[in-house]
Symmetry: C2
């Protein structure tokens, strides 16, 4: 059991970039986040399931394969164009389950409320969660509420966990990408991150930008019905497309190369990123997925995606290669290539 004595003697099993305290970047989905996970959480909670580091764990229960995941949501502000924290909390967990090929079934929700939160705001957020759950076809079956003193929260933080059944024959995992596979993106990049940023900072970018927050389980079901051979699915949230591709490349020990000019970046997102000095491939999405698919199945999966409203603009953006294992490269518009690494921290804190 821990006590203050052992606190003084505690040493990190591996150096965490020499930060003695938590900084915002530890929550950004980039290198600092990964270091916490790889050097602290995985060694401490040592088990094979956690070590796979998919969007959700896949565990065996009484002969069934269950996908099981958790996510806390601390987005600021609580309401943004196209959604709110409640909507995000349901869809985020639904999508993490869907990325393992599971049909999401049950969710739990844990609220950390700050003293002084208007009850009417809580009411709207709860009803938004209920509507999102109904749309995604999941039931919220258990919950918990804690209240913290004013000045120790930010209105509301929400944790959702979720479980779902993985269909027999489906095995999606970040380490299954193989050279020759095709990389498919389900639609436009950057909408969630720029929508939140615009309202947070009071920016106007001409055309209004709305978050793409949406449940992806229907799209995934259509894709798996077209071909159960899909290797990897990932929803590029915190850290954006670049981080998802890096995680896949590292887990599968393959290279990934994409064409920059094939990326669907809405004009408003491109303009906002230009103005702010950000790169759309690092901006969070909440209703998109990236799929790694064997070349032979690419056409049929792409057609299935385009037949679904949330995949109507799906596009092949690149491929998995044998060269440069663990590294993602972009072929740029002017014919060069550049390495697309993980960021150290994040471009946008508290985006989800």
């Amino acid at each position: 059991m821990a006590n203050q004595l052992s606190l003084e003697n505690w040493t990190c099993p591996l150096p965490l970039r020499n930060y003695p305290t938590i900084v915002m970047g530890h929550g950004g989905g980039g290198k600092l986040s990964n270091e916490l996970v790889e050097n602290l959480f995985v060694p401490a909670f040592s088990n094979d399931t956690l070590a796979t580091l998919g969007d959700a764990a896949v565990v065996e229960m009484n002969g069934s394969r269950l996908a099981y995941t958790t996510d806390s949501f601390v987005v600021r502000p609580l309401f943004f164009p196209g959604g709110d924290i409640g909507h995000l909390a349901v869809n985020g967990t639904v999508n993490d389950l869907a990325m393992m090929g599971a049909q999401p079934r049950y969710l739990t929700t844990g609220f950390i409320l700050e003293e002084g939160l208007p009850l009417a705001q809580l009411g709207v957020i709860v009803e938004s969660m209920a509507a999102a759950a109904q749309l995604a076809g999941v039931a919220i079956v258990a919950g918990d509420t804690k209240v913290v003193d004013k000045g120790h929260g930010d209105g509301i933080y929400i944790n959702t966990s979720g479980i779902g059944l993985v269909a027999p024959g489906v095995t999606l995992a970040p380490d299954r990408a193989r050279p020759g596979d095709v990389v498919i993106l389900s639609g436009e990049l950057g909408l969630h991150g720029i929508a939140v940023l615009s309202v947070r900072e009071g920016l106007e970018f001409g055309a209004p930008i709305e978050s793409d927050c949406a449940p992806l389980n229907g799209l995934v079901a259509a894709m798996l019905a077209a071909s159960p051979d899909i290797r990897v699915l990932r929803d590029p949230t915190r850290g954006g497309l670049a981080s998802s591709l890096n995680e896949i490349a590292k887990a599968s020990k393959v290279g990934i190369a994409y064409q920059e000019k094939l990326l669907p970046v809405p004009a408003a997102v491109a303009a906002a990123c230009d103005m702010l000095g950000m790169d759309p491939v690092y901006v969070a999405n909440e209703g998109k997925l990236v799929a790694i698919v064997p070349e032979a199945a690419a056409d049929i999966v792409l057609a299935a995606m385009r037949g679904h409203p949330l995949g109507a603009n799906a596009v092949i953006i690149g491929k998995v290669v044998e060269q440069h294992p663990g590294v993602v490269v972009a072929r740029t518009g002017i014919g060069g290539t550049r390495i697309v690494d993980l960021l150290i921290g994040e471009q946008l804190p508290r985006i989800c």
Copy 2:
């Protein structure tokens, strides 16, 4: 989808005691907590499983009965005599599963870290969680980390969710108490709450008081092996024994009567409660359970409890009665009776 317009028009389905904002008592496990759950969460998330309001939901997955629960932990301070927030976060969820008669199997953990948290503190807490998980026989299979800006957290908040299998033939639920049943308490009351309070407020009560935080799944397994006929199990955490008994009385539409003089209250807890004007039956416990057992099975269940280290001081404290349905009464030392109601808020905020 929610937006700021509907926020203005939102009205609560039932009046919430006319509080326009969240107050600390909404997180206290008393009447205000219950009003949030009954008037807001249950109607919004409408489903039969949530409405049973057990410590964990019991859901069907592919023919198996799974117990599934979530809890967020915001205890202050993070380290206290006998435990820490990590230890508490694992045992709290393990115990909620155990109260449904499930063998806990897998946990998830969601961290909300405040910028500036010393990494060494996080390290100790994580190792404490790992040790508690090992002791309880559960694996932490998925996790999430978010970081919030300094001044919007309190070092660390932890959510844990958990799943476990409910054995065939076991049906524990808060609405199963019947007149004639016996009420058994597994041991001494009030240790967790007073231990946290003592370090928070710098109080000294003579003998040091340590939290009773412990995993109850082993004790429950021994009890169910002795008799699968146990009707209700509940761990009296926030709101203490009084709140657990009230919830059972209300759910089962029965009265509950206990003898005050039979309650095992350690002298140090009694002295601390005397000094602070608190009642031990409302103080939080983290390693105790209350069991409602048919009279015919009471002796065998009690013997099984006393044979387990965490039930060595188990004692029958009262019975379920037909009279005063929904109401808990205590027979006092001087021969009278008093109604033991739910508190409005709580005696001790942020106790778990």
